[in-house]
């Protein structure tokens, strides 16, 4: 009996490992496609990083371009860039000439990652709390209050919520600082602002998912057996009820990335989002490519991670 169980688990984990490996391998062509698309998109567009309002003598411009290998044919530059990628070298930054792209990303990415994690915690904590509360007492005030709040959360975009939070908690009440990323106090407003919309979605999804599970016969059986309400939620329905939330986490990750562009601008946070927007505005080719690559990898890995959790929660998805 014992050996039988261990065999099934080892088969299961072997299957999972295979699934993960296959998806990781599939990521390489996807990322390559993204890099290629971005590379040519950025290069074919009019304008360059060294076009400035001041007239630069053509010889000097030529020298700068030669320095950054911009005078080579486009396809040569493309393969040079790919060659660099295999060594993990993202090239020098064009507009921030004292830094390489690797250095800039190494400085700013941890900040954005931290912000994203806090926002995700905010979203899951408040969202699940509201959604589960609502699902346990449908069509009562315990349902309407959190769900109305969730609707507001969905309809008030973060670039509206952010300034309003700054106005109320920073400038009027003076409870929290409104810019920077030094202390815990600095991190509260950005995390709440970025997480709010996702908390709202999580609340709606978990309410729907929980209601569906709670209407099952086995829940009635559990209640009839005298299982406590907490037991019904935690042991019997949570696993099935949060699957819609888990599948939402993939798109949410992509949303958090673009949300960070706004939040980092509003709260003056030195993160990757601000770097990306600035590099796009300055046409800093290598920096754009570097940040896009980081974001794409991140989103791809998070989607993979979400699929794995889903397979763990719902065995029916394992063979898909």
């Amino acid at each position: 009996m014992v050996s039988f169980i261990s065999i099934t688990t080892s088969v299961k984990s072997a299957h999972m490992t295979q699934l993960i490996l296959r998806r990781l391998l599939m990521g390489i062509p996807v990322l390559l496609a993204i890099v290629t698309l971005t590379f040519f998109l950025v290069r074919l567009a009019p304008g360059g990083p060294f076009d400035s309002e001041k007239a630069v003598p053509p010889e000097i411009k030529k020298q700068i371009e030669a320095h950054y290998n911009l005078d080579a044919p486009l396809y040569v530059q493309y393969f040079d860039y790919l060659k660099g990628l295999t060594r993990g070298d993202l090239g020098p930054s064009f507009t921030n000439s004292s830094y390489t792209v690797n250095e800039l990303i190494r400085m700013s990415f941890p900040v954005s990652l931290e912000l994203g994690c806090y926002a995700l915690i905010v979203a899951l904590f408040f969202g699940l709390l509201a959604g589960i509360t609502a699902s346990l007492a449908p069509n009562s005030y315990r349902d309407y209050v959190p769900m109305t709040l969730a609707m507001i959360g969905i309809c008030v975009p973060n670039f509206v919520l952010g300034p309003l939070m700054v106005l109320v908690f920073g400038l009027e009440l003076k409870w929290l600082p409104v810019a920077g990323w030094d202390t815990v106090m600095h991190k509260i407003l950005p995390a709440l602002t970025l997480g709010a919309m996702y908390a709202a979605y999580v609340a709606r999804l978990s309410r729907g998912g929980m209601m569906e599970v709670l209407s099952n016969d086995f829940i009635r059986t559990a209640r009839a057996k005298g299982v406590s309400e907490a037991g019904v939620v935690l042991r019997h329905s949570l696993r099935g009820g949060i699957t819609p939330v888990v599948s939402f986490l993939g798109p949410a990750a992509a949303g958090l990335v673009s949300g960070s562009f706004v939040i980092e601008t509003i709260f003056h946070i030195p993160g990757l989002g601000q770097n990306f927007v600035n590099s796009a505005l300055n046409r800093d080719y290598t920096m754009i490519l570097g940040t896009v690559l980081v974001y794409a990898t991140l989103i791809y890995l998070l989607n993979l991670f979400v699929d794995v959790i889903q397979a763990v929660l719902d065995p029916r998805l394992r063979n898909a």
Binding site: V30, A33, I34, L37, T38, L41, V42, A45, P46, G47, M151, I152, I154, C155, V156, P157, F159, V160, G162, P163, L164, V166, L167, L171, R204, L205, R207, G208, G209, M211, E212, P244, A254, V257, S258, F261, V262, T265, I266, F276, V277, A280, L281, R283, I288, V292, Y295, A296, I299, Y300, N303
Partner: protein, 292 residues
């Protein structure tokens, strides 16, 4: 006489009437519909009824709080805020409608083709959608906007090109499941022509989800436009859009609170209305669908 009762019963049960009756019971959805009609009428009439010109500067005024002459106040260049919100609404709504139409057109055609043809072609077409889903699209839209100028038409297409994927998935799923339904089989066995099956049986049955999803796509699109304008990548001054006004207001909200409050209200209320209407339509057109 009994014939008449029969007739009244029959005339009352058409799909559209039935859905409208259910929608009428939903107060929030009706409020949403009313507000949207109000906003659309204002947007259409703006060039006629706007109190000032959107770019007209009264520099001697500077930023003034709401008053009799300027109901919602003026910005630091002395431009009337009400006028700018009205013109901004035109832009936001136009982008919302146009980009949603692009998404609708691509999504429905793609999804219906994949679902109807089925088999290997369907597999390939849907894998392509899966891959597109994995791309960081907002990032591409930003790059597009930066490098190819902040072009209005391009904005429509860029946003539309992002939003069609979900539409394609929904339509394909619908067509796929409809193909297997008994009433289609019945129609086939009765010798109804294929063209008739598609136009009379398949399309009307996919219409509900398409309408619902369209109403829910418009707020997403408007949000994306406002997001781009907020970052300075969308609509450019002196033109006006709600995202742009919010960005402007956020810069000076410490002294001039009204500059952020009113544009934010306009955008949020419109998004609210669209979402409530979308939810209401979903409940009305597909009573079986759960809330989420």
């Amino acid at each position: 006489m009994p014939d008449e009762t029969l007739n009244t019963f029959e005339s009352g049960t058409s799909l559209g009437m039935d859905a409208f009756r259910r929608l009428k019971k939903n107060k929030m959805a009706l409020f949403g519909l009313a507000f949207l009609i109000f906003v659309s009428v204002i947007a259409l009439l703006t060039p006629v009824i706007a109190p000032y010109d959107y770019a007209e500067q009264q520099l001697w005024l500077g930023a003034t709080p709401p008053s009799g002459d300027h109901w919602l106040g003026t910005d630091y260049l002395g431009r009337d805020l009400l006028t700018r919100i009205m013109y901004g609404g035109r832009v936001s709504l136009a982008v919302g409608l146009a980009a949603t139409s692009v998404a609708l057109l691509i999504g429905v055609m793609y999804g219906a083709t994949a679902g109807y043809l089925g088999g290997r072609i369907d597999m390939a077409m849907m894998r392509f959608v899966d891959i597109m889903y994995a791309l960081p699209f907002t990032i591409f839209v930003i790059i597009l906007m930066v490098f190819f100028g902040r072009n209005f038409i391009l904005l429509f297409f860029a946003i539309g090109a992002v939003e069609w994927l979900t539409m394609a998935r929904i339509v394909r799923g619908q067509v796929l499941s409809l193909k297997e339904k008994e009433f289609i089989e019945a129609a086939v066995s009765m010798g109804v022509r294929r063209r008739h099956i598609i136009t009379r049986h398949i399309i009307p049955n996919t219409l509900g989800p398409i309408i619902v999803y369209t109403t829910l796509t418009i707020p997403n699109v408007m949000l994306l436009e406002a997001f781009l304008s907020f970052l300075g990548l969308g609509v450019q001054a002196p033109m006006s859009s709600w995202g742009l006004l919010i960005q402007d207001g956020a810069k000076q909200m410490e002294e001039y609170t009204w500059l952020i409050i009113f544009p934010s209200l306009a955008l949020s209320l419109t998004l609210f209305s669209l979402n409530f209407l979308g939810d209401g339509l979903r409940d009305a057109l597909d009573p079986r669908a759960s809330k989420d």
